[in-house]
Symmetry: C2
Subunit: 212 residues, 2 copies
Amino acid sequence: MTNPPEQSGRSDELLSVNISRLFNALLPLSEPQSLYRSGSFIMDSQGENGIWLLTEGRIVIRRRIDGLILASQQAPIMLGMAEFFLPTGQNFYDIEAVSPCTTHVIKKTDFMTVVNRDQLWESVAVVEAYIIQVMSQRDRLITSRSATDMVWGHLELLQQEPEEIRQRISAAQYIRDRTGLSRSTVMDTLARLKRQGAIQLQRGHLVCICID
Amino acid sequence: MTNPPEQSGRSDELLSVNISRLFNALLPLSEPQSLYRSGSFIMDSQGENGIWLLTEGRIVIRRRIDGLILASQQAPIMLGMAEFFLPTGQNFYDIEAVSPCTTHVIKKTDFMTVVNRDQLWESVAVVEAYIIQVMSQRDRLITSRSATDMVWGHLELLQQEPEEIRQRISAAQYIRDRTGLSRSTVMDTLARLKRQGAIQLQRGHLVCICID
């Protein structure tokens, strides 16, 4: 499940260069909004909503219909593009700050003006490609053939989260928030992996994965 | 799970207009390749692979690592954009023709030249948005809280497939190919839905869903 480091490094850099280009051009026309830890906002295709630029902090994206967490993302990142370019009126997400966040919103018309003016469409295509890649990775995780594979895949994700997140949330909760697996399945699998020496947990929080 | 028809109609039209624009500009520079029913080709980021344009027929996209079917798509559609714009080297898919297909491949450099020349970036953004929407829909289906919801969601998908597909593949196989649910879970759930009068099956093939 882990990315080959070299390839992943190259694609991280490509994403980061393109997000910088977009942020530099879009931020002067966007409106800052603070997002507090417990706050949430809604992405949808109604009204004048545009693209959300997260310039600071870390968020999780929850699907509103069932509260499932689809992704964790660290600034800088842009959100809301799929509904922006191809509105379905079906996708409602709540964005929750997991650390103090600053977001900026840019209106649809301003976004189009700036992207056309500064010829930033290729950067837009790269950011959308990133979203597709994140969703492909999630798809691999949640359609693993066994609960053990699903738990293991999410432990790998958890290990990539900042220390602060790993201390705040138990491994079991992290996995259940993202998979819909039952409490007992998750607890039994974690207990087995711990017994086998594959992971170290401390009061239910992930310390480390012990297998290469 | 079903799209509100009005909204869905509008977004279908938007997609179709933008794919036509891209195909008109890209096809003259692309190379035709026939894809037979049992054939498959590979999308990856190696070598000179570019974007695949499906101009005729119907395909399924299988994830190579486990053979799971991620999507069924009808021409006209473009494939391979996420790895094209943001190569991860991680995503390998087999594309299987389920009806006689014609595909065209356009090289990376030609694609960039044409899209820049004809200012087709917004169309590219719309097609990527469509891929994100398809994946969001799939995510909702496969993370349903119960096996019954997963089976039901896939029966709704199956009902939208052409008649020919529904006659060729049994409902159970269709669902198992896409979810990784066990044979017994799928069979038990289908049997229960049939007993409840919620679906009609004929020799295992879906005739119709009987609930509004």
